[in-house]
């Protein structure tokens, strides 16, 4: 089976210090990036599926020109090839633009499943996969804890985490599945994988290559606007409870109750 995973390079939390541009948006070219953690879970799920059912995994990223540096890590984990949508006109894109661009990039691909992470550690909106599914009219299966494709029947069954347990959803393929961490820890790239990733193809696509009008995306048409940004206040003094468990539990509950949190 053919699986596409949506992979976003996000600021490296270990590098510390994101650089913001004059417009208050993240200067992605100047900030060290890593693969969005939730996307790694989606990629791990995809790799396990092709290991079990055969097939290949293609990653698709919309990112500035330094995107391939981060995409290589996903290729080192085992993805077969990458598609890198990059265009100066994409600067300042909001979630709507992003969904539009990714949907356009997917149009030329053949796939049974599109997998995406639940959200990204920089944007946090969690709406792009739903947007892509809507634009492509794909069945949208969210918060998957288990993915069971039936390639003969051309259908996929997903266990969706719900507030009370699981919902079992089934849909015809191709379909878009939003993955959760319940699918299993992402693997570390092996040395063999790292060396092999160097020669894997990352195809660069401009907006004109995927048939998107540059005027329809980017900062100028963004539906959201950054009004300002401030660093979170430093953490206030921490109170550590070191009593035995039964006493400590009572103290913690009392503390929360005083603040009407419980």
């Amino acid at each position: 089976m053919q699986i596409v995973v949506l992979v976003k390079p996000v600021p490296d939390p270990a590098a510390g210090g994101e650089r913001l541009g004059a417009d208050g948006r993240l200067d992605r070219a100047a900030t060290p990036a890593v693969v969005n953690a939730n996307d790694e879970y989606a990629l791990e799920a995809a790799l396990k599926l092709v290991e079990a059912h055969g097939g290949e995994v293609t990653i698709v990223s919309m990112a500035p020109s330094n995107g391939p540096e981060t995409m290589r890590k996903a290729l080192a984990m085992g993805a077969h090839r990458g598609i890198h949508v990059t265009d100066d006109a994409l600067a300042g894109s909001d979630h709507v633009s992003t969904a539009r661009v990714l949907a356009a990039a997917l149009k030329d691909l053949e796939y049974d499943l599109v997998l995406a992470g639940a959200d990204t550690s920089d944007g946090l909106a969690g709406v792009v996969p739903a947007g892509v599914a809507a634009l492509l009219r794909l069945p949208y299966l969210s918060y998957a804890a288990k993915i069971e494709p039936d390639t003969d029947a051309g259908r996929v069954r997903v266990r969706r985490i719900s507030p009370t347990g699981y919902d079992v959803l089934e849909a015809p393929m191709p379909a878009l599945v939003v993955c959760t961490q319940a699918l299993g820890e992402p693997r570390y790239p092996s040395l063999k994988g790292i060396m092999a990733a160097r020669s894997k193809e990352i195809a660069a696509k401009a907006l004109s290559d995927i048939g998107v009008d540059a005027a329809s995306v980017g900062g100028a048409v963004a539906t959201t606007k950054v009004l300002g940004s401030t660093a979170p206040p430093p953490r206030a003094a921490t109170r550590v409870v070191r009593e035995p468990p039964d006493v400590a539990a009572r103290e913690v509950v009392e503390f929360l109750a005083q603040r009407r949190i419980v």
Binding site: K73, Y188, P189, S190, L191, K192, I194, M195
Partner: protein
């Protein structure tokens, strides 16, 4: 990415073994298995033989990261490359098919036997002889200071193959592969060393050791050239080991200086200590950048590869010695005892000034390009 992967492995699985390896002076078979299972020993070998096809720079990045926590462990990869280089550079396809897949997978180890008791810096003074006997060669002599000579499955041996005194000294040597179970081959003794104590340094003897002509690597009389070309490519590995040792020592010294309080503040806040740490960091970075540059020059086939390889080993070895000595100084009395790793690193660093050509030989090689004959 590869460097980070090796660093994580070194930090999580090799670092905690380093002190014990040094203390027991036993070859760390578990670390060798670890390196093999992560394909690290496959780095120097072409993909067609099951290796990873790593460039010199990639191999050196791996040696550096492993040596940062354990110089003996870093040497396992460096020696695997050193011993295999004659095969890689001059071996026939048949020889490569036969030996490289097991070496790349880390199923077998290989050692490089050039040095003799009376032929150290002057390799052309080799006395070990190989005499033609029908389709075979019969090797007699002994080799000294052979890293991992007692644990290797294959030995790359250099022996004199001509009695003709008209043949120039550097055209008398031929290279052979000797398998460890060859009759007449033996390990005479293991040296007791100051550093890299887990890496057994052996004296090897050849008493009528008989190998078929198919074990001859390269042409007759080509051995000296093969050995020199091998060293051009392997010396950066030793430079990488040296840079790694130095980096490891700096990290220990910096962490210690930030924690250790005297006169009411961390000693890192005293300018004399801070300056030492700064000098160590700057010296390491300079050595590292020279090493990386040397790797890319040698990989691209630079005509002065010997110069690059000698320069990076010279600078990195001296840097490692100075930095580890200073690291011991930063730790004071604690640096001198085995509770902290810097005394081990200082002992380990010394070898990088000695093997694969002493620092004096490196200078000789570098100067050769400056002094017209």
């Amino acid at each position: 990415m590869l460097r980070d992967a090796v660093r994580v492995l070194a930090d999580e699985q090799i670092a905690r073994r380093a002190a014990e390896i040094d203390k027991t002076a036993e070859f760390p078979w578990d670390v060798k298995e670890l390196l093999a299972s992560h394909d690290i020993l496959g780095l120097p070998f072409p993909t067609q033989y099951g290796g990873l096809g790593g460039e010199l720079l990639t191999i050196c990045l791996a040696i550096e990261q492993i040596s940062r926590v354990c110089a003996t462990s870093g040497l396992i990869l460096a020696v695997q490359e050193l011993g295999a280089l004659p095969l890689l550079l001059a071996g026939s396809d048949e020889q490569k098919e036969r030996w490289l897949p097991d070496l790349a997978a880390g199923r077998t180890l290989i050692a490089f036997a050039l040095t003799e008791a009376e032929a150290g810096s002057d390799a052309s003074a080799t006395r070990t002889r190989a005499r033609r006997d029908g389709d075979d060669w019969v090797i007699d002599g002994s080799k000294r200071f052979i890293s991992q000579g007692s644990v290797a499955d294959l030995i790359t041996v250099f022996a004199v193959t001509t009695d003709d005194s008209d043949v120039p000294r550097h055209k008398r040597l031929t290279c052979f592969i000797v398998e460890k179970d060859t009759a007449g081959f033996g390990v005479e003794r293991i040296e007791h060393k100051m550093g890299i104590r887990g890496s057994p340094t052996a004296e090897l003897s050849f008493r009528g050791a008989r190998v078929p002509d198919s074990h001859r690597v390269g042409a007759e009389g080509d051995g000296f050239r093969i050995a020199m070309r091998t060293l051009d490519r392997s010396r950066p590995g030793i430079a990488a080991q040296a840079v790694g040792i130095a980096q490891g020592a700096l990290e220990v010294a910096a962490a210690y200086a930030n924690e250790r309080k005297q006169f009411g503040k961390p000693i890192a806040e005293f300018q004399m200590i801070a300056a030492m740490l700064a000098d160590m960091d700057a010296a390491i970075e300079a050595a590292r950048q020279l090493l990386y540059k040397a790797c890319t020059e040698i990989e691209s086939g630079a005509a002065d590869a010997a110069r690059w390889s000698a320069m990076c080993k010279l600078v990195a070895g001296d840097t490692a010695m100075r930095v580890t000595t200073d690291a011991v100084q930063v730790l004071g009395g604690y640096g001198y005892i085995d509770e902290f790793p810097v005394e081990r690193m200082m002992r380990d660093a010394k070898i990088t000034q000695l093997y694969e050509g002493t620092q004096q030989i490196q200078r000789l090689v570098i100067a050769r390009a400056l002094v017209p004959k």
